[in-house]
């Protein structure tokens, strides 16, 4: 049965508009699972790599290969989150493209770094044979700052666009670590990478997940 239409005063109309716009803005909460997964994964990979260098052992595979495998659960997480959404905001599609672009840039950077390394490695070996000591320039020392530079960008944009300060600060933290890593050894670079992953994704992801759970509880309570 139709309810009778309530005629509004001008003031009531404006209040209603403000209330509904505010409700719409508060309508989507990220589950944070993707951020938690990537934050933990990058931190673990960096720490394992650091332990390989420090303790002088080598795993039978490159630990960073796990990041390629992690793309599979990420696809499932994205599909599930999209299915659960009852509303699409204007930011959603921009955010999707920003993170997709970030993923493409990371894989391109891996390709570039490997290509440069293959060119540089024989030169470094020849230099060592001719001079009897290692070159002062170690290409591997400059890899982490390049990745940290990229980590900061989508994190900073997401934090700013979604008004989520932990991610905004996480992005800035990545860039501070990026500058620091230029002047530090590879071991410290890896520690900085792990710290950046924790600050930029793991901690914000945990906070997002908590907020999401609270939101879900409130939603469930309002339907009782």
């Amino acid at each position: 049965m139709n309810q009778p239409e309530k005629q509004l005063t001008e003031k009531e109309s404006l209040d209603l508009i403000a209330k509904m716009i505010s409700k719409a803005k508060d309508s989507y909460h990220d589950t944070g699972i993707g951020a938690i997964m990537w934050g933990a994964l990058i931190a673990i990979c960096s720490i394992v790599k650091l332990s390989e260098i420090h303790f002088g052992y080598q795993l039978p595979f490159d630990i960073y290969l796990l990041t390629f495998i992690a793309v599979i659960p990420q696809i499932f997480i994205t599909i599930r989150e999209k299915k659960e959404r009852k509303v699409k905001s204007f930011d959603d599609s921009y955010m999707d493209y920003i993170w997709l672009g970030f993923g493409i840039c990371i894989f391109l950077l891996i390709f570039i770094v490997n290509s440069v390394f293959h060119v540089w490695e024989p030169v470094a070996i020849e230099y060592r044979q001719l001079t009897g000591h290692r070159s002062a320039f170690q290409f591997s020392e400059f890899i982490s700052p390049l990745f940290l530079l990229l980590y900061g960008l989508p994190t900073f944009i997401t934090g700013a666009a979604c008004k989520f300060k932990p991610m905004l600060w996480g992005g800035i933290f990545c860039w501070v670590c990026c500058i620091t890593a230029i002047f530090t050894s590879i071991k410290i670079d890896l520690l900085l990478t792990a710290a950046s992953a924790i600050m930029a994704w793991l901690i914000p992801g945990i906070l997002m997940e908590r907020e999401y759970r609270v939101y879900k509880k409130e939603q469930a309570a309002s339907h009782v």
């Binding site: 309810q3 109309s13 404006l14 209603l16 719409a24």
Partner: protein, 96 residues
């Protein structure tokens, strides 16, 4: 002289729906029902009126074997909403 307020928008539920839709790209019927606390029947009627006025687009489809209704504000709806808010402000600006 005051312009008359758009009668399509000057109703509690229709205005609530348009205000929600102006803030998002598109929304499911269930989302609109949740936020407006309206009954499904009443909301359907008001959505139909907004659709007939050309203020919103309504797409009916199936998602996981369940019917899904998606609503989206049209450019005409945006213009009408902006005009409505402008008129409201002119009323309040003089009255207060």
């Amino acid at each position: 002289m005051f312009k008359e307020l758009d009668p399509i928008l000057h109703s509690q539920l229709r205005l609530a729906v348009i205000s929600l839709l102006i803030s998002v790209k598109e929304a499911e019927f269930t989302f609109l029902r949740e936020k407006t606390n309206a009954t499904a029947g009443n909301l359907s009627v008001q959505i139909q009126k907004l659709k007939e006025a050309g203020y919103i687009d309504v797409v009916k489809q199936f998602k996981d074997n369940y019917p899904q209704t998606i609503c989206k504000i049209t450019p005409q709806g945006i213009t009408a909403f902006e005009e409505y808010v402008k008129n409201l402000q002119s009323y309040l600006g003089t009255n207060t």
